[in-house]
Amino acid sequence: MSLKIAIVGCGKIADAHVEEIRKIPSVHLCAVCDLEPIMAEQLAVRYSVPQWYSDVAKMLEAERPDVLHITTPPQSHLPLTEQALAAGCHVFIEKPIALRYSDAQAIIAAAIAAGKKLAVNYWPRFEAPALELRRLHESGVLGNPVHVESSIGYDLQGEFGMALRRDPQHWVRRLPGKLFQNVLDHVLNKITPFLEDENPFIQAIAWQAEAAAGEGGSDELLDELRVMIRGAQVSAYATFSAHARPVGQILRVYGTKNTAHVDYIARTVVLERKQTFPSALGRLFPPFLAAKDHLRQGLKNVNSFSHARFHFFDGMRRLLEDFYLSIEKDSPPPIDYGEILRVSAMMERIFEQVYPEVRA
């Protein structure tokens, strides 16, 4: 049976959803919707989507999709999820799942109550290096995790960054955690598989490194964030930087046996191994072992490229395949709901510290 997919929200990220959906033969995109009809129309015309709507209720009524992708700003995620579940849809939600932790709880509870599947677009978690890291962890190569460092860079001069800087009414500015809230999922959801505490200690600091003078006023927009997290067994650092170059996405997992260094942009996983040779000899070998790892990863990437499996959003395609399969097989969805909630809870506590008005 071919699942019918619909999308609500036709902004920039909707393009990525359409492109990845189209790569999956077992599903088909039946319609797109946006409150702004011009935006719905442009997406439908550019990708030859059969129908477009400006009223989600009409789309759900007319198309009866099996899955609704919600790619609107997070302010609307809760009501749209409730509407989709009421119409019998499974739900795939763009991150961040919701404005507040309480909304995230309500969304998950509603999906469970409706007996429908739900996933949040944690696509980097399904990239090839992330899967390799998971294998290293599960096979015991790293030993027990001790500390995790997850960092992400952001380019305020990029397409999205410029749109945000120029528009004082941009939806990201209205998020409680502003710029951080639109990105931090991808930092924290790489930590949560290793740090499973429900209520870890969190200390966050944030500041504005560069005022966007003359770009529509972004005085309130903090652009550097550092977070220290401590659980019972594992600690973590989370870093967001709009100024560090190159714009990267790095994860380091320090284990009791070895340390893994994952570069999500270059798509490499390099293992830093415990020294086995004594004295100066022990310092001679590590660069060669790292070079061997890089070469192996480089060849792997060439292989992926030659088999057309090296797209920017390859992780999203993999996540969607897993999600759709969980619907067809009625098996657990690819991302544990508890983990989604822990990410949301951590984000809220971070925003309370760096934007005190959130606490209020």
Partner: protein
């Protein structure tokens, strides 16, 4: 008469405001998004006596900002548009913003919309050039693009914008004037139109060859816009805007290398461009978009197929080139040379 210029802080906008002042308009509302782009606008009235420049900051995506922009104006010169970025951003900045502006004109109190003239600055990109045989003359009667989804998103969004203006004009009955500039260039603009070629990594692929380049020097273009805005015969008309003495793409590149800087370029004849496009399309399909199909046969035909251009209709408004092409190119290249020196 109060005039609204949207996108007034942009590359073309500043020159349009300057030409409005030169033509004796004294009450001009400059609508701009970035407060950092006011410096040049603020110096303009110094060279003209008695004008009133009103700076109005906002974003046309906001309906309330649009309402403020259109209050009491009887002439709207709409330049603001998305030029680059994600497709959704281009449509939001060009089409949604235009719709908001037109809604605000319809809904405002005061001057009836039927007594308002709206000048839309569109683009050559709206023509269905891909379907035309090599050497076809492009004028205002050339059919519009029938497959905008096969073109670049900028052209697609500009075509949709034009359709929107025509729909609203028929509904609301305002005076609509459409100008379709070719490649607007000048100090402060970019160095190369894609009609000359594409920079891919360290190499510039020169794809335009001996094709004529429909250049419109920014001052000449601004003059055309202001003339059309004020000319009684322009209501309901469309005008192509480009200069008279057009260079070829290869001459433009040669002069650039001579006056700005040397650069490595590879000239691809049109048949080779088509072959490359065929390969890229096939790879795009086979790999499901692993690499973008930056050149397709359709885009290649539109950009590098080779056309002739006609601006005779623009001349009927009394337009003539204020800056001759050799002077315009010299000024542009001098600016680019200084810019390049500053970067180094």
């Amino acid at each position: 008469m109060k005039v609204l210029v949207t996108g007034a802080g942009g590359f073309l906008g500043v020159h349009v405001v300057e030409r409005l002042l030169a033509h004796g308009y004294t009450d001009i509302r400059c609508f701009l998004r970035d407060s950092g782009k006011t410096e040049r606008l603020l110096t303009l009235p110094e060279s003209h006596s008695g004008p009133k420049l009103e700076l109005c900051y906002g974003n046309l995506r906001s309906k309330s900002d649009c309402a403020l922009a259109v209050a009491d104006v009887s002439l709207v010169i709409h330049l603001a548009a998305g030029l680059k970025g994600a497709p959704a951003e281009l449509f939001a900045d060009s089409v949604v913003a235009s719709r908001n502006l037109l809604d605000a004109l319809e809904e405002r109190d005061g001057i009836p919309i039927q007594e308002t003239r709206v000048v839309l600055v569109s683009s050559f990109g709206v023509y269905g050039a891909a379907a035309l045989p090599r050497g076809t003359l492009i004028d205002e009667g050339t059919p519009l693009e029938e497959h905008p989804e096969l073109r670049d998103t900028y052209s697609h969004s500009k075509l949709r914008q034009e359709q929107l203006f025509r729909d609203y004009q028929q509904k609301a009955g305002f005076q609509l004037v459409v100008l379709r500039p070719g490649v607007i260039y000048g100090p402060g603009g970019g160095a190369f139109s894609s009609r000359v070629g594409l920079q891919i990594g360290p190499v510039f692929f020169h794809l335009g060859g001996s094709n004529l380049l429909p250049l419109a020097y920014v001052v000449n273009c601004a003059e055309a816009i202001v003339l059309a805005a004020g000319h009684p015969a322009a209501a309901g008309q469309v005008y192509n805007v480009h200069d008279d003495d057009l260079p070829t793409a290869s001459r433009y590149l040669r002069e650039y290398k001579r006056h700005v800087k040397q650069m490595r370029s590879i000239r691809l004849p049109y048949f080779a461009t088509r072959m490359l496009a065929r390969f890229l399309e096939a790879y795009y399909r086979r790999s499901q978009g692993q690499l973008p199909a930056i050149i397709t046969r359709y885009k290649a035909a539109a950009a590098w197929g080779g056309n002739r251009f006609d601006n005779a209709k623009l001349h009927t408004l009394g337009w003539s080139q204020l800056v001759a092409t050799p002077d315009a190119m010299a000024k542009t290249f001098e600016h680019l040379r200084r810019q390049d020196a500053r970067r180094q």
